[in-house]
Symmetry: C2
Amino acid sequence: MEIHPFWHGYPELRKRLAKVNQVIHSHIRIKDQNIKGIINDVINSGGKLLRPAYAILCSEIGPEQDEDKAIAIAAALETLHIATLVHDDVIDQAETRRGNATLHELYDNKFAIYAGDYLFSVCFSIMSSYADSLSTISYNTRSMEKILSGELEQLHSRFQPPTSVKNYLSRISGKTAHLFALSCYIGAVESKASRQIARRAWNMGHYIGMAYQITDDILDYLGDGEKMGKPVMADAKQGIYTLPLIYTMQYDKNAVTAILDKEEPLTNNDINQLMNLINQAQGIEKAQNIARRYTNKALQQLNKLPDGDYKDTLYQLTQQLLKRTT
Amino acid sequence: MEIHPFWHGYPELRKRLAKVNQVIHSHIRIKDQNIKGIINDVINSGGKLLRPAYAILCSEIGPEQDEDKAIAIAAALETLHIATLVHDDVIDQAETRRGNATLHELYDNKFAIYAGDYLFSVCFSIMSSYADSLSTISYNTRSMEKILSGELEQLHSRFQPPTSVKNYLSRISGKTAHLFALSCYIGAVESKASRQIARRAWNMGHYIGMAYQITDDILDYLGDGEKMGKPVMADAKQGIYTLPLIYTMQYDKNAVTAILDKEEPLTNNDINQLMNLINQAQGIEKAQNIARRYTNKALQQLNKLPDGDYKDTLYQLTQQLLKRTT
């Protein structure tokens, strides 16, 4: 399968990411060829493989290098990510994700629920196939628990309009940043980095994940106004607020809720009004400031990691990721 | 919480099952007290704890007895069972399960999907907390994978009318029997029973699971005709056939499909007609014969297990379970 063009400038990493995909595919043990094909399509549907990339790079932090193990770890993390995406799709009723039609549309929500369950078990299976100690498994399992309980709590908070910056940051911390942090941390730990250094890797991953999600949420508001604004405003109407809108609520709550609380679906005029409000409130600039702050924190942690080729790649990758405009 | 009245005649086992519940609850680590409460309610909603009971009894097969470990194994198995039930509820849109309103009705499908995911991770967490070897974890993970891929394949087969006995048996084998087999097997293995004996425990569990599911499916057709028949016929209309109806299809396929393939919802008259056809075809008696055959096979395996008090309890429990009328 094709590795995402994002990795064009990283030939060595790209080779390893192709191996990550192979490991995942080799763990899909389903008799029914039809179902196996569907699951393989989901895996191939072309995510960037960011979490595996960070795990692999961080597996060069410590003194012990075992490429096969690093690739297996990366595969388990990506499988976990895919499993949560498949279930998120059911939940969000998202029409598209990554530009392709989602699994639940093509093959029904029911299928997607079981497919996600199956992928969770594949994640554990990959994890237990590489692990060389029970404590690794215990640790990883606790981390997965944390990610999944985070999703539960996040869902719950949708019903309490999350209009504070603090609430937003805690939500994306559980949802996105935790898996980035875990990816960097496991890589470091498995290469036998010291506790202190592994903790730095964790922090770096956490800050990268935070900046990544904020940047992602900002990108929803950029580009062609009406076309871009519609889906994100529809989310907002359902109670899913991201940072640019939260700053706008702080600037003029009444004006925002007057538009979002209407019974009817949003009109183009509503969306234009909201966009104007966001501009007045400088919602996007303020969100960009926060993302920049997290990026800087991530780079500070990165600077403190032991020297090595991996460090340049981590630096380049993180800069590219957080400064992207698409 | 209350242990199901089914265990009234088993005071010792009942005490251990109460501990199983405690272990599960102690692994629910969720900050939000509201969500924690909901999850605890699901766990308390009063299943029979059959799989834990078999795991605990089978943990007395081998020479090494460790009650805490046996209880942890049992807790992991029950958590897996609950997680699949929560997702099954979403999928079946079942109105009630175990007599209570289901999670998805009370708190939305979305919540139920994430709650099931979380419970999967709790299952792994309990599993890795007791496991004393990586191979145990690997084995258990592979078994879980098998159960979950079984669910996927079962769902798929709904669209190919499963009107053969063979198809039905293979479906319930993946869905129910595998978890019973696993429960008995893990109990035996962890008590250091020999390979041969552990394999017998597996077979016994498999046969018990088969007989249990067939009996469960038969019970849907017994009792007050119209009231009992309606939900099972509605399932049949959606392509979910169980053994009594499959035998009836073999007896007079045209008559059955003429009723089930109608566009309109089933009337009371339709249901009465189907019930008459089932009686003519002796669908229930034939299904009971198959259940009896599996029960006998289970008891044959049981007889070959090493002597011990647990054996009487296993015998009594299995007889009670498979001869029940409610």
